[in-house]
């Protein structure tokens, strides 16, 4: 029985290892893009990085490099977008954070301050995974508390730990949703853009957003997109002034 369990564990670990390392990254294209960047061929490097990103096998480094390439091409909006993408994948990625702040500062935009809510939103997986693990620990401990009285002292301790952890984790998970990796999140890529009450240029302006500001997209109508700003203001902005954080 013990030997069988060890064998099953080995097989499971192997399957997980294969699954995790199921990388479709094209190392040739990656190296080629890096060489083009180093040689100053930024247009070609951008095309290659974009092709790599389109395969869906993405990494913080890829978006960081793409951001730098856009920076070299003096497209600050897309540079900010790609630095934000890199940070959405790896919130602690210092080079991306550094460059993002500098680009925003040079564009005259105050970089976002890291609040508790934004910190929660940077790690949506932790709250969901933690919440589900604690929930199941809670469920099994609660079950054993009812069914096996002899385990009650242990179950009680487990329940005392698991109940608050579950509540905290699941509340945060509910609050942040997909967090910084939400498919609805988008970034303003123009130096500034007017958010209007209606999908027309003649419509009244409700607020003006600056480069790199995040909005939540709600619907699209022609060349206009209905969005909600971080302050909760809903309005229409031109679709070409905004790009989704999660590439489609």
């Amino acid at each position: 029985m013990g030997k069988n369990a060890v064998n099953w564990l080995r097989i499971g670990w192997l399957v997980l290892f294969i699954a995790v390392n199921n990388s479709n990254a094209d190392p040739v294209l990656w190296n080629q893009a890096n060489q083009e960047f180093a040689a100053g061929k930024f247009d070609q490097a951008r095309a290659d990085y974009a092709q790599l990103a389109a395969t869906g096998n993405v990494s913080p480094e890829l978006f960081y490099n793409l951001g730098n390439t856009y920076l070299k091409l003096d497209d600050k909006g897309r540079a900010v977008l790609n630095f934000k993408r890199a940070l959405a994948l790896a919130p602690g990625f210092e080079p991306a954070k550094h460059n993002l702040n500098l680009v925003l500062q040079t564009a005259g935009v105050e970089p976002d301050e890291e609040t508790l809510a934004s910190w929660f939103a940077n790690y949506p997986d932790i709250w969901m995974l933690g919440g589900s693990i604690f929930f199941w620990v809670l469920a099994y401990a609660g079950y054993s508390w009812f069914v096996w009285p002899r385990f009650r002292p242990v179950s009680k301790i487990i329940l005392a730990v698991a109940v608050p952890c579950t509540v905290v984790c699941l509340t945060i998970a509910l609050f942040v949703g997909d967090g910084a990796r939400s498919p609805d999140l988008a970034v303003i890529i123009n130096p500034s853009v007017d958010v209007r009450y209606g999908p027309a240029n003649g419509s009244r302006v409700s607020v003006t957003l600056g480069l790199g500001e995040s909005v939540r997209l709600e619907s699209e109508r022609g060349a206009w997109t209905l969005c909600r700003t971080a302050a909760g203001i809903a309005g229409w902005l031109p679709s070409n002034a905004v790009e989704r954080l999660v590439p489609r």
């Binding site: 995790v20 960047f37 480094e61 994948l89 790896a90 040079t106 564009a107 099994y140 498919p183």
Partner: protein, 573 residues
């Protein structure tokens, strides 16, 4: 008082502010000085003095409040400051002792102009009239000149600007005015009569040289005029004594109250001695700088704040000039204006520069700011020495000759400051999909659910088995006993039959575990008498056989009879 003595210790540092109600006034026209002290308890009013200024204590107020659970205590000391002669006077920093330490207020400047010409003589003895007060005969282009628009009303007239919130309009061109603060109401005696007075304060700034004529200023008011018994209207208003036969009736009237005209000579700013960095600031200013943080690394921005404080045309004050230093990448500043009086002539304009060090450096750039001082009639250039700062790290300056484009208002392109060394490593298998969007996460949840259900089912099965084990054993025994009925051994048949009576009773009884004899079972169950007799005979026969050893053979007919009796027993309700 007791409540104050019970206050918890005020942990925050004291904050001291001093301000004047207006930055300019005329000779013998008092202004209010307020000193506000927060986060400290000061009982004795601070001593205030200034050359040619008469200072009188006007009052003191204290306030205690809890903000977000933090106690906040503030004292406000009010003074009336009356200048005795024309000129620009400074109220020096006022020392305030708090807990053994001495703090100082900010320095204040009061500009005093000569007393306004008395226009009262020109006004007829009317129930209401307007007055334009321009305290100066001349000013320079760009120099804000404080003016007052005074509207006098007899005390018995109720008045209100019409439309409500409307501010006076000044005729003329070649000048700009400041935004009006809320008007001030006072009472004053003119030619021996008491008037209520509504004073609008603002400042005008001449935009080009020459004589600036102000034909008049006017404001519309809605008046409630008392109606006399002789005839209504204000023409004969003053023919009546204020206390002589007035009626309680009032007449509403919408009137346009005009002031007298005025003029001022606007002088051009001198060309001689104009500094290259002069941007149009006219007044008296001071310059202060600060840097935060004082320790940084190459590439990490620091905020360099330059404050221009004083009295003048702050709307024309542009960002000061920062000395060029290749080690600093200077970005355009963010500007913040804090007015210190209600008109905004006295203010603090702060410029916050983002400086990004490109190399280790020990001080900030020096700052220069030039303005024209109308009192001294000359240009003044203020210089702030570089502030010490410690920047460590490796230089990221290009090895070629440094760019000279990094001036105070020029931003450089970001790529030169950003770390654009691309990453060569590729971390595979990152995805924007969160765990909620991953199939494996939901498979694991399913496994956890199934595991919990499986454990529950197993537990239920075990308890069900435990609950029904007795009945199952009895049913097994019944099957075995029926087989025994076929035995040739008479004792076995009779024992099996007797036990079958007991087993059937136990199976159908809710308390199937308890022990019972066949005889008791027969007596307890409600059966027909013939059947009971047959059953009891069967039980007696078995007893005879077992205990009395009275053997009687079991014929095939007996077997059939026993079976039928047992079947009947089992069918009984």
């Amino acid at each position: 008082m007791f409540a104050l003595s019970q206050l918890p210790a005020l942990a925050a540092d004291p904050v001291i502010r001093a301000n004047l109600s207006v930055a300019t006034t005329t000779v013998e026209q008092p202004v209010e000085l307020q000193i506000e002290i927060q986060n400290a308890r000061v009982i004795d009013p601070p001593d205030v003095a200034g050359d040619h200024l008469e200072v009188e204590m006007a009052g003191q107020s204290t306030r205690y409040q809890l903000l977000n659970g933090q106690p906040s205590f503030s004292s406000v000391f009010s003074y009336l400051v009356t200048p005795s002669q024309e000129g620009t006077f400074k109220i020096p920093p006022i020392p305030i002792a708090i807990d053994g330490k001495t703090y100082y207020t900010n320095e204040l400047t009061l500009q005093v102009t000569k007393k306004a010409p008395n226009n009262q003589g020109t006004q007829p003895d009317k129930p209401y009239f307007g007055e334009l007060v321009i305290p100066k005969d001349s000013a320079f282009v760009g120099e804000p000149v404080p003016i007052e628009l005074r509207f006098y009303f007899d005390r018995r007239i109720w008045y209100q600007p019409y439309p409500q919130g409307q501010f006076p309009i000044i005729d003329g061109d070649g000048f700009v005015t400041k935004k009006y603060p809320d008007p001030v109401e006072k009472e004053e005696t003119v030619n021996g009569k008491r008037y209520r007075l509504l004073i609008y304060r603002t400042a005008i700034t001449g935009v080009h040289a020459g004589r600036l004529e102000l034909p008049s200023a006017y404001q519309e008011f809605l008046l409630h005029l008392p109606v006399t018994q002789s005839s209504p209207g204000f023409d004969d208003f003053f023919e009546q004594s204020p206390f002589g036969s007035p009626s309680n009736a009032f007449e509403r009237k919408d009137v346009k109250v005009e002031t007298n005209s005025g003029s001022i000579e606007i002088k051009p700013l001198p060309e001689a001695g104009r500094p290259a960095d002069f941007s149009g600031g006219v007044g008296q200013f001071t310059l202060e700088t600060s840097v935060k943080p004082e320790r940084s690394k190459v590439g990490d921005p620091v905020i360099f704040q330059v404050q221009i404080k004083g009295l003048g045309n702050f709307d024309r004050v542009q960002a000061p000039h920062l000395d060029q230093m290749p080690a600093w990448n200077i970005h355009p500043p963010a500007t913040d204006l804090t007015p210190l009086d209600e008109v905004g002539l006295s203010a603090i304009k702060a410029f916050a520069y983002v400086l990004i060090p490109q190399a280790p450096v020990t001080h900030t750039p020096g700052v220069t700011f030039s303005y024209f001082d109308p009192a001294a009639e000359k240009y003044v250039t203020l210089k702030a020495e570089p502030k010490p700062v410690i920047v460590s790290g490796q230089s990221i300056l290009p090895t070629t000759s440094p760019s000279a484009a990094q001036s105070g208002s020029q931003a450089t392109a970001a790529p030169s400051v950003a770390n654009t060394a691309n990453a060569s490593h590729f971390s595979p298998s990152r995805s924007f999909a969160t765990v909620r969007q991953q199939t494996w996460f939901w498979i694991l949840q399913g496994i956890a659910v199934i595991g919990l259900l499986a454990i529950g089912f197993g537990q239920w099965l075990r308890s069900w088995n435990a609950q029904h084990a007795g009945a199952r054993a009895l049913r097994r025994e019944r099957r075995r006993l029926y087989r025994n009925l076929k035995s040739q051994d008479a004792e076995s048949v009779l024992c099996a039959a007797t036990r079958l009576i007991e087993v059937d009773f136990l199976l159908r009884s809710p308390e199937a575990i308890r022990q019972i004899t066949a005889e008791e079972a027969v007596r307890e169950r409600n059966v027909s008498d013939p059947l009971r007799t047959r059953l009891l005979e069967l039980v007696a026969k078995r007893s005879d056989f077992v205990y009395a050893h009275r053997f009687s053979p079991i014929t095939p007919m007996d077997r059939i009879g026993i079976r039928e009796t047992l079947h009947e027993w089992e069918k009984t309700p």
